[in-house]
């Protein structure tokens, strides 16, 4: 019998089965080897090789982001908001998800008012994130959402600094940039306080990119910025700006400044500067308009400096209230220069009151000459000229007060009439405040208090006392002379019905960069105190390069009167003759 090839002999396994078992062993071994390799790989990945993978996973799932605290608000002295925050959406694109950048740009760019080419260019850089526009208007966001490009476009809410009253007090407030950093004004000066401290949050995202909240870890808690309360009064500021706007427009002037200060505390109630700008869209205005002229721009004061010259003379004992000077209308001084009075007419024999009342150049020049360069320079320095006032506003100018060694023989005369020196409006109003408060040189400031995020109110206190620069007698004497200037002198237009007013007019020719003075270019100013019987406010009005008229008594004094009247009513300061400001006294309209 022929044996089947597939079968073995009797008692031995069949041949096919034997082969299968061999293969099975090989296959089993291979499987085991694969399993062992897999196990080994898994073990490796779980131990020694886990680092890079863990990092990769963490990069995909975890994201540490900086969280900004809310920027502090800014209020006026009555708690009315001057600067606040609103949330605006910023728009970003995901270039990796965009197949056709040009087509995408054609849809999106017109809504964002950007050139299509610029948008396409940004998208071509690739990556997962590129800003298209920051802090856009809600209408723009609605239009973009309507495009249905959810996977390609994203919106990130961001706080935006806004100024609800528009250009009101813009030069004091300044403005904050797109990342809420202060760039000008008190926004810059108090940036550290307003900005708060950023926090850091670790976010966990799922496969769809959604945040898993239970995975969120706050690495560092963000702190909101503190609110700042200013000494400004929104209504008084508005009055000052409105009247200044009108005057600058009326006289087609280059610029104008109004400063209103509490003579006792140095609190600035209003600080207006024209031309103005809107801090909500500061980039649309020329940089020149951002400058706070009240602190950053020095001018030759002209006759308003006679107050300081006379004060210096009285303090030094070089002159007395009864000293008399001859005024033939001109005075020849060293170097062949001639000092003339405004209208070329002599005032006859004048005393100090007349010098102020009539704004007599010849008399003031003689007082300057009596003091001499050293005493006059020292006194002006002592009164705060030539040095920044230390106001809490950035960019303050020191003005120009040359050392006596640089003075020529004519300088005591010309400085006596307010030429050859440059002062800032703030320096001038500060000195007049010292005259009004009995002789103390207070520091002007705009920040009154800080309101902490927890609600506590903290006064910003200055530990240094105001230095005395004038004796009370000299201050009182000067104030009386200033009052005569309004009742019976060049400042008659500054009178306010019902209130006693003291002040001084100033008309100064503008110096030319090439030497000498510019013909036909003047600075008209008026600085005064109201009420003169119970001094409360020092007000300075300055109009730069008015056309048509240029005398301080004509251009600036009427503005002073309008501003002072409305400010006194607003603050509830009773008219002169009604005694002291008793707590029960109110000013009411009928």
């Amino acid at each position: 019998m022929k044996r089947h090839p597939s079968r073995g002999g009797a008692g031995s396994p069949p041949r096919v089965l034997a082969l299968s078992r061999g293969r099975l062993r090989v296959a089993s071994a291979a499987c085991l080897a694969c399993l062992a390799a897999l196990f080994g790989r898994v073990a490796y990945l779980q131990t020694a090789g886990s680092g890079p993978l863990r990092d990769l996973a963490l990069r995909q799932q975890l994201e540490a982001t900086e969280v900004r605290g809310s920027r502090g608000r800014i209020y006026d002295r009555s708690g009315r908001e001057l600067a606040t925050n609103v949330v605006r959406d910023s728009v970003y694109a995901v270039p990796r998800a965009i197949q056709n950048p040009e087509a995408f740009a054609r849809k999106v760019a017109p809504i964002l008012r950007l050139p299509s080419r610029e948008v396409a260019e940004r998208l071509r850089r690739g990556g997962y994130f590129v800003w298209l526009a920051r802090q856009v208007a809600p209408e723009v966001v609605s239009r973009l959402r309507a495009l249905g490009l959810e996977d390609q476009l994203g919106f990130e809410p961001e706080p935006q600094r806004t100024y609800p009253a528009g250009s009101l007090a813009a030069h004091v407030l300044g403005f904050a940039g797109i990342d809420s950093q202060g760039l000008a004004g008190v926004e810059l000066q108090y940036d550290g306080m307003l900005r708060g401290k950023p926090g850091r949050v670790l976010r966990v995202r799922d496969a769809l990119g959604r945040e898993i909240l239970e995975g969120r870890r706050v690495l560092r808690q963000p702190q909101d910025g503190a609110d700042l309360v200013l000494t400004l009064d929104r209504v008084v500021q508005h009055v000052a700006e409105r009247e200044l706007d009108r005057t600058v427009a009326q006289y087609r002037a280059r610029a104008g400044v109004v400063v209103i200060m509490d003579v006792h505390t140095g609190e600035l109630l209003a600080l207006a500067s024209v031309p103005r700008y809107d801090p909500n869209r500061y980039a649309d205005f020329p940089e020149d308009t951002w400058r706070n002229r009240a602190v950053a721009e020095a001018y030759e004061p002209g006759s308003t400096l006679k107050l300081a010259v006379l004060a210096a003379g009285l303090e030094a004992g070089a002159v007395s209230a009864t000293s008399r000077f001859a005024c033939p209308g001109f005075l020849r001084v060293a170097g062949g220069h001639t000092i003339r009075d405004a209208h070329g007419r002599g005032h006859g024999v004048v005393d100090l009151t007349d010098i102020l009342r009539l704004s007599c150049n010849v008399g003031a020049a003689q007082v300057g000459a009596r003091l001499g360069p050293h005493r006059l320079h020292r006194a002006l320095k002592h009164f705060g000229f030539g040095t920044p006032t230390g106001a809490d506003l950035p960019g303050e100018s020191a003005g120009i007060l040359r050392p006596p060694s640089a003075w020529s023989g004519t300088d005591p005369y010309v400085v006596g009439i307010g030429q050859g020196v440059a002062v800032t409006p703030l320096q001038m109003v500060r000195f007049v405040a010292a005259v009004a408060n009995g002789g103390r040189l207070v520091r002007p400031h705009v920040a009154a208090a800080v309101r902490e995020p927890q609600g506590g109110l903290r006064r910003l206190a200055d530990p240094t006392p105001a230095p005395r620069v004038l004796s009370p007698e000299v201050a009182a004497s000067l104030l009386a002379m200033m009052e005569r200037t309004v009742t019976d002198g060049t400042g008659a237009a500054a009178a306010v019905e019902g209130y006693r007013v003291a002040g001084k007019t100033g008309t100064a020719q503008k110096p030319s960069p090439s030497g000498g003075y510019e013909p036909g270019r003047y600075v008209a100013s008026f600085v005064g105190v109201v009420p003169a019987d119970r001094p409360k406010l020092a007000v300075l009005v300055l109009v730069d390069e008015p056309r048509g008229a240029y005398y301080g008594g004509v251009v600036a004094a009427p503005v002073f009167a309008r501003i002072a009247a409305q400010t006194l009513w607003t603050l509830g300061i009773p008219p002169s003759g009604h005694g002291g400001a008793s707590p029960g006294t109110r000013v009411e309209g009928d």
Partner: protein
């Protein structure tokens, strides 16, 4: 007599008297092996399932929380917008425009009168709630400059 098988011996045994009355010994209950396995499996699986359920529940709650936070953020955004709008509407410039539009004018000097109120009238004045900025009166102004006292910076 009953016949006994061969090779079997009988030994006398003394039984206790209550032997017949003792309760029968109960054998331990033995379920089906599969049921026992299922119970064991359930004992192991239940905590695991519970853990998974809790995790998923926490995630769901997290998403809900996220939505609620988004709502809070939206409401805050709306509140800020309204505050901004309110402050804009109260801007002095706008108020003056509106006032002039309806024919109001600033008062003339002769329309103003200083009225000295007696202390009694002040005391009788209705008390108004004091928002935080009213406390500013203590902090801002009204202080004469003197060497002794501190002034705002």
């Amino acid at each position: 007599m009953i016949p006994q098988p061969r090779r079997q011996r009988i030994y006398p045994v003394l039984l206790p008297q209550d032997a017949g009355r003792r309760a029968p010994v109960r054998k331990p209950a033995r379920g089906h092996p599969m049921a026992r396995g299922l119970v064991a499996l359930a004992l192991v699986a239940m905590p695991l399932l519970g853990h998974v359920w809790l995790e998923s529940e926490a995630t769901q709650r997290g998403y809900q929380l996220r939505q609620l936070r988004a709502e809070v953020a939206d409401l805050r955004r709306e509140r800020d917008q309204l505050r901004y709008r309110l402050a804009s509407l109260r801007a002095p410039d706008r108020l003056e425009r509106e006032a002039r539009a309806i024919g109001l004018q600033p008062p003339a000097t002769d329309q103003l009168a200083a009225v000295a109120l007696p202390p009694r009238a002040l005391a009788a004045a209705p008390q108004r709630p004091s928002p935080w900025w009213w406390r500013l009166g203590e902090l801002v102004g009204q202080r004469p400059a003197s060497a002794e006292e501190s002034r705002p910076r």
